[in-house]
Subunit: 240 residues, 2 copies
DNA sequence: CGCGACCTTGACCAGGATCAAAATCTGTGG
DNA sequence: CCACAGATTTTGATCCTGGTCAAGGTCGCG
């Protein structure tokens, strides 16, 4: 039980057999809950299990000695936030719960077993980490070549589609439980500038954001502003 | 034969059995040569084989409609430049030969066979793509939170270590066959500013760069300036 | 009611972009 | 070996996006 969002996510990419679903669900050793603002995994850890996010939002981040922080990924339900620790061994970054998170824990021994016995499932898990990589590349281009406003628009488009893919949208509205400071750490901007950029998007009638609820008011124009094309998210269904 | 640099690279992470080495070498269907400034793979392609760089330098890049370009990775001998296309299917970016490149071609059917029959080797190939991801994350933090000078220093440190890992350094000197414009596309800077930053690093006595040959004159200070710590490159040897 | 977190605003500053032009360097054909 | 064209590097001047600093305002909560 409880592997729901991951199944949903893997099944976007390719069909899972009933046996594969069973294997995946049996790979979960326990469910844990992490409070908001707590680390799910610490930088430098050498974990022996990986964390699959079932509910809540999380962020991967790196901190510099002087306190500057960069968030390198935002995770939503269905994301395997540190599947890579299975092979990378040492965590080169921390993972923070942005909201209370419900997490399925998968021991690395189970992952190893999957790689030994279930090649197709292995490929889908591998694929999962490859999509993470594709998102990183997209963020790199957004960071390097888009204006602050465009970058913000791009980020919102992406998050909307990713949430939509796991059924966590409500019409044109998503939950966006980030402070403006955290958004700044995500986009590489100062908090002050995040605020101004958001005001601009609001003034232009592209979004509404009150409390946690962010509504996309003009999807087409938001996509244009953010130069957003969703192919990199690999949401199409193919044999893998 | 000819899988040399990849073997070298995979063996940094873990030991390969003789059989695994043989399998890997047999997976190569042919060797091809790509001229400098030619695409090795085009964005949008749906390739049926992956390219392992044996000699030369290559870059992954995305282009915007207005011609702006962002390079998201620099590849050196031993890098599997598009291993991800095995599972991602569509190329979400192009791969460009920066110099003449000698490439080993591995059909996806062979990769699929490896995933079916050689779990440990599969894990090492997966690991390869995970290290790519770790590098992307590091670039993201460098891009978001480092000054132009620090970012440049960081980039040079990384490239040096990666070349060193595959035996392509000559003392403190590496080959850096990028124009300043290409460096700008890599770091998200303008060509002009790349030039100024390089002059600063030279004036500070940190590097020398003439023609293709870049020499690190003061490794310690360069590391400090670039806030560089190499753990993310995962150059340690562990069981995987 | 009061405190702390967060958001908002304004004034000013600076890192890096842009524009333009000159200086080098490279390769090519004669 | 030279001349020349194109690419690349360098320099200077100016502009502007986004950072920094500082102060209020707002909201939720104990």
């Amino acid at each position: 039980m409880s592997g729901g969002p991951l199944l949903l996510k893997l099944e976007q990419h390719d069909r899972l057999s009933d046996e594969e679903k069973r294997v995946l669900e049996n790979a979960i050793s326990r469910i844990r809950v992490v409070e908001a603002d707590e680390d799910i995994v610490h930088e430098g850890d050498h974990p022996s299990e990986s964390n699959l996010l079932l509910d809540g939002f999380a962020a991967r981040y790196k901190i510099f000695s002087n306190g500057r922080r960069q968030i390198t990924a935002i995770h939503v339900p269905g994301d395997f936030v540190d599947l890579h620790s299975f092979l990378l061994r040492a965590m080169d970054h921390g993972v923070l719960a942005l909201t209370p998170c419900r997490i399925a824990v998968v021991p690395h021994t189970m992952l190893e077993r999957i790689t030994a016995e279930h090649p197709h499932l292995t490929r889908l898990l591998w694929l999962n980490t490859l999509v993470d990589g594709a998102i990183h590349r997209e963020w790199l281009t957004a960071m390097g070549r888009l204006s602050a406003t465009a970058h913000m628009a791009h980020f919102i488009c992406e998050l909307f589609l990713r949430l939509n893919a796991v059924g966590r949208t409500d019409g044109d509205t998503i939950q966006l439980p980030l402070t403006q400071a955290e958004l700044g750490d995500t986009l590489g901007l100062s908090t002050v500038h995040v605020n101004r950029v958001l005001q601009e998007l609001r003034k232009e009638g592209l979004i509404r954001w009150q409390g946690d609820a962010l509504t996309i008011l003009d999807w087409e124009r938001l996509k244009t502003v953010g130069e957003f094309t969703p192919t990199y998210l690999n949401l199409q269904h193919e044999d893998r």
